[in-house]
């Protein structure tokens, strides 16, 4: 018996006696965790075509045809790709004034978006219009803190969804911003805005209980404010089961994802990609979640700029 085999056998026997559930982790866990690439946009604002080449700051940037090609390119490099949007799909170019969101939703369907949440401007042509445009969507709208009972959106959005990508089970929950004072009342109608933190936490806890490896929160709250208005920063710190918040509304181009400690002491990421589809956010996860680690110690995240 060579030494290596001896050690391995001893380990197995010892572990089997001591803690049988550890064996799978210590001996079968690959050096790699589960792989997931999250691609994300926010506040695209009907920017279907690239900005015109008129010498302005964003000239030539963006456009759905180029974004679609970028996403297809990444699909050939990596497995387990999740594509999401954090709201304000609508409003900002004549496309929206004339077609009320039809080409925006069709483009997202062609690009293989897995889910999106609603931003305040998605109410701009009325809730009935948004509900109508969803006939062109092959992805769900997730938002857990708008009650759409007795509105045209009743039954057309859900608080969360679960997506399986290869061996990764992903829970996606959405949160929307307070509508009063931001969206004209005649546009949101009977929609009831509910407190986002407790609702997001409830959905996230459910998603974790269903065995999700990662819980992604699509948020249109805004990254942070000078006052105590609820934001992604506050949500991250007050959360328990959310792993990453894909944000929007404040049109910030994050140089790198922000890291916060949640109520359990685990690290949560927040990321946001400006607006207009000028950039596509990409997060490549090598995931060791609580379930994979099978312990209750706080989890940490190491961030690296992709090169």
């Amino acid at each position: 018996m060579n030494r290596r085999k001896f050690v391995a056998d001893t380990l197995k026997t010892g572990l089997l006696l001591a803690a049988p559930n550890l064996i799978t982790n210590s001996l079968q866990a690959a050096p790699k965790g589960k792989q997931l690439t999250i691609l994300h946009t926010n506040d695209v604002h009907s920017r279907l075509e690239a900005f015109p080449n008129d010498g302005s700051r964003n000239a030539g940037m963006g456009g759905v045809a180029a974004r679609a090609a970028a996403i297809s390119g990444i699909r050939t490099q990596a497995d387990n790709i999740l594509v999401v949007d954090a709201g304000d799909i609508f409003q900002g170019t004549p496309y929206f004034n004339l077609y009320k969101g039809e080409p925006e939703i069709k483009a997202m369907s062609l690009m293989g978006y897995d889910a999106a949440t609603m931003g305040n401007h998605d109410f701009d042509a009325g809730l009935e219009n948004f509900a109508t445009q969803l006939q062109h969507a092959n992805f769900p709208i997730v938002v857990c803190n708008y009650n759409f009972t007795n509105t045209p959106m009743e039954g057309k959005a859900k608080p969360y969804t679960i997506v399986q990508k290869g061996n990764v089970k992903i829970g996606i929950v959405g949160v929307g911003i307070e509508l009063k004072g931001l969206v004209p009342e005649n546009l949101y109608g009977n929609t009831v805005y509910m407190e986002p933190i407790s609702n997001a936490n409830r959905s996230a806890a459910y998603l974790k209980s269903q065995g999700c490896d990662i819980v992604v929160c699509l948020s249109h709250l805004g990254d942070k404010y000078n006052d105590d208005k609820v934001s992604d920063e506050i949500l991250a710190k007050e959360s328990y089961d959310i792993d990453v918040i894909i944000g929007g509304h404040t049109h910030r181009f994050f140089e790198q994802p922000r890291k916060y400690k949640n109520k359990k002491g685990n690290e949560v990421l927040v990321n946001q990609m400006g607006w207009a589809g000028i950039q596509l956010g990409r997060l490549d996860y090598n995931l060791f979640n609580e379930k994979a680690r099978n312990n209750t110690q706080a989890s940490t995240i190491i961030l690296n700029k992709k090169i």
Binding site: L11, G62, S72, F288, N295, T296, L303
Partner: protein
Amino acid sequence: MRYFTTRLVLAGFIGLLGCKTQAPQPTTVAYEGVKITTEAPKDSNVLKMLKPFSDSINKTMNKVIGFAVNNLAKKQPESNLGNLMTDCMLVQASATFGIQADAAFVNYGGIRSYIPKGEVTVGKVYELMPFDNLIVVQKLSGKVLLQFLQHITQRGTWPCSGIKYTVVNKQPTNIFIGGKPLDEAKDYYIVNTDYITSGGDDCDMLRPFPVMNKGYLFRDALISYFQLLTQQGKPIDAPIENRITINN
């Protein structure tokens, strides 16, 4: 050496047994902002889906409705573009609502673009006013109008038409409306967008008063007004005439 290694491994093994849980393995995340540039390849399926929409958009948006002899851009306290847009509100509201409007305002942040010298297209108007804001009218007392003026002057002055005043220490003074001094007891027909009359930009003082609303889009009013100027053989322009003077 071999003996030593074995001992080390065993020591580690014993240590592992003593510890109830495995050492936490951190998740790693590699991040990137993938820039979508002009040079990026285009997806043919998406282009195909978009084509009928963009063809029709281009046809509508490229329609020329007038000519600008100057570059028109917004500026505080007064600009040719701000004057043009509020003149349009005053003229088009008077015609549409069958009243003689006294003054018109547009919130400075509501002007979203500029008009370069040359042919003016429908598309330019859409860029100027992408939101579906409506032109509405309220009958306001001089007293409320003064409150409104004080509020917007605090915020840094807004484009206006039909009214002329001087700003001293961020306060409106020497206010003339229709060429006559503001009378706090008199009622005036004031044109705004529905965004402002419903309390946008913290204009809560306007909320209590009835709003005349005909669903008239500000953008449609601009297109009609530009076409009107063109029919009259005039360029799309407005003079700078010291509607607002800053005197600190």
